[in-house]
Symmetry: C2
Subunit: 418 residues, 2 copies
Amino acid sequence: MTVRPGTIAAHVDAERLWRRHMELAQHGATPNGGVDRQALSAEEIAARRTIVAWGEAIGLSASNDDAGNLFLRLAGTAPDLPPVMIGSHIDSQPTGGKFDGAFGVLAALESVEAIVASGARPRRPIDVVAWMNEEGSRFAPGMMGSAAFTGARKLADVLAVRDAAGVSVSDALAAVLAAEPQLPGRPLGTLVAAFVEAHIEQGPILEAEKRTIGVVTGIQGKRTFRVTVTGEENHAGTSPRSARRDALVSAVAMVHALQAAMWDAADVVRFTIGRFEVTPNAPSVVPARVVFSIDLRHPDTATLRDLGDRIPGLCAAAAGRCVVEVRELLHDPPLAFPAAIRDRIRAAAQDLGITWMDIPSGAGHDARYLHYHGPTGMIFIPCKDGLSHHEAESATRDDIAAGARVLAETAFGLSVAE
Amino acid sequence: MTVRPGTIAAHVDAERLWRRHMELAQHGATPNGGVDRQALSAEEIAARRTIVAWGEAIGLSASNDDAGNLFLRLAGTAPDLPPVMIGSHIDSQPTGGKFDGAFGVLAALESVEAIVASGARPRRPIDVVAWMNEEGSRFAPGMMGSAAFTGARKLADVLAVRDAAGVSVSDALAAVLAAEPQLPGRPLGTLVAAFVEAHIEQGPILEAEKRTIGVVTGIQGKRTFRVTVTGEENHAGTSPRSARRDALVSAVAMVHALQAAMWDAADVVRFTIGRFEVTPNAPSVVPARVVFSIDLRHPDTATLRDLGDRIPGLCAAAAGRCVVEVRELLHDPPLAFPAAIRDRIRAAAQDLGITWMDIPSGAGHDARYLHYHGPTGMIFIPCKDGLSHHEAESATRDDIAAGARVLAETAFGLSVAE
């Protein structure tokens, strides 16, 4: 079956797609216009029900797996071939926005709806997917569903994780699956012909460059560290500076030295200290302990390695009279998406007359794990002021529709490719 | 009645005094050898009962007032004269030690016990006092009982303060007073002939100088500030440094600049940032807000004023792309205890052959409020490594006894002075 470029995209309904974003955002809506729909919550259960209803209304077959990933299948003419997967996640940060994750799932749903409306028939099945717990804010770390699906993490390890209240993934997931008794299960780790994830950029580059589509070249590498600075508690009024072992003074000296050493003039390095906790944290007590996090990211493997390797030495040099321990928690090298997928996304944008540019992904995504499982790519659209993980997160109706059009063309093309 | 120097001190029983420290420390004992006996807690109620029992066993008359201050009176031959007061407090920090406060109350009790044992009769009554809530860790700020007694704060204002659990001082105090139904009440604000507070130094100077008694010259001044730095939450992986308004980066720059500007070569300035709180405090989120405390102390009025007045400007200059608000919470000027009291403490130490030195108090004490109510002084003894507000807080049996001897002689001298 030959379908001319643009045929599928013409059936993307921008109004419907926008309306669905607003409706989905009601599940976990916050007073400030954001979304609090954390993984495996009651709000997410309700959101999944809404997604399933929308999918079933156009004839998709819903299913889930033991990791809580949710699938909606559009049948292909060759039902035994591995599917093309498109999607993202619908869980959010506690003070998240309406678009992070949700856009990728709703654009995927809109894509198959456009295919159905066009009358075209995919060869391979197309699965719309919502991966379980991408954000990792309730159950850490994130990207749990895609990690379990691709075998990057064992399901048993994922199920044993507990949230701050002591609830396990296992128990929370049981409630989610119990709420979907009519859905058949499907196995983890099945073959995937291709995976394409659409997402807001979560950064300011597309907006600044006035491009609508980001053809994602890969995901930058990430290293994370936990730094523990131990000094000695003392009285703020009586202990002379020379007698103190002030953990905050030493930690601030470390942060100061790290900032000077890590950041580059080209502004490519992403260096963030997001967590900084003081003990006992009382105004008139010299701090005995500080624990802070380091999040370091870079698209180049060697640079990421070299910068990260300097961290323990920089901390030790600034420790003063305190003791410092630097523990590395994660080292994910950079990855590059295959040209075959990137070319197809780029061609779709060009055929539709939509502006595009190549762009690296600063954030991790479920596409990180799928990359090692099958040919994978990502499509970015701009978000206002680059804000994400924020209640004011925003994207325009036109950009959302453009992203869905490019995804729809790409997905259909992959489904019929030899 | 003439009593030769040293007569009273000879009746101080070092073993009894030590044993009482260990017994009192059982009320709120922590697994690490410290004390958690916060103001108006069940542990403090039990400790008060113990103190009253010890006092009544030697014939003292116990009473309390509407602010929860506890008194044990040794009658004088001129019962209508204002009393000499000696004492401190028995509440502790949540991870406090056995000696902060407790030493001052137990040394006072030992002093009157020595006077009784010596057969000498004071002219003025001598009141052993335990002031309510000196520490201010449960109900802030501290020195509540002495502030209410001296009129520095209105009783109604003190009673309205609530702890983190929402319990008011009024309700907690009602439970304390209900546990002492046999004790007569006494009015607030009565005249005081003199007040002398014995206390561990809470600093390292006496230990370093190998002196047993610190004749406290006064209490250094204190200014406290709350600094609020507001930036914008963003994604650690995607937002370039140039686009960030990172509240932690700005706050660290402020702390760095403040440390450089505040500390002096002579190491007299006490400058502490004890509280530092980051929002949202998540490893992969650029911080939107930091709130930190500043505790600045100095014995010189002009220096304290000038240094403190520089803080808002230093913070503003380091704010970068964030917004900073500096709010002053407290400005207590330095105070000097009167020579009459200091001379008497110094003379007592000299007569007893105990080493002494003049020393300023770095910490605030109930003596701060009593100073404006009647002639006031303080006696310090060394504490191990200068540690205080710490479970490892420690003082020697000999130093504790020496402090009690000097206090006993001083108190008796004041009680019979013209």
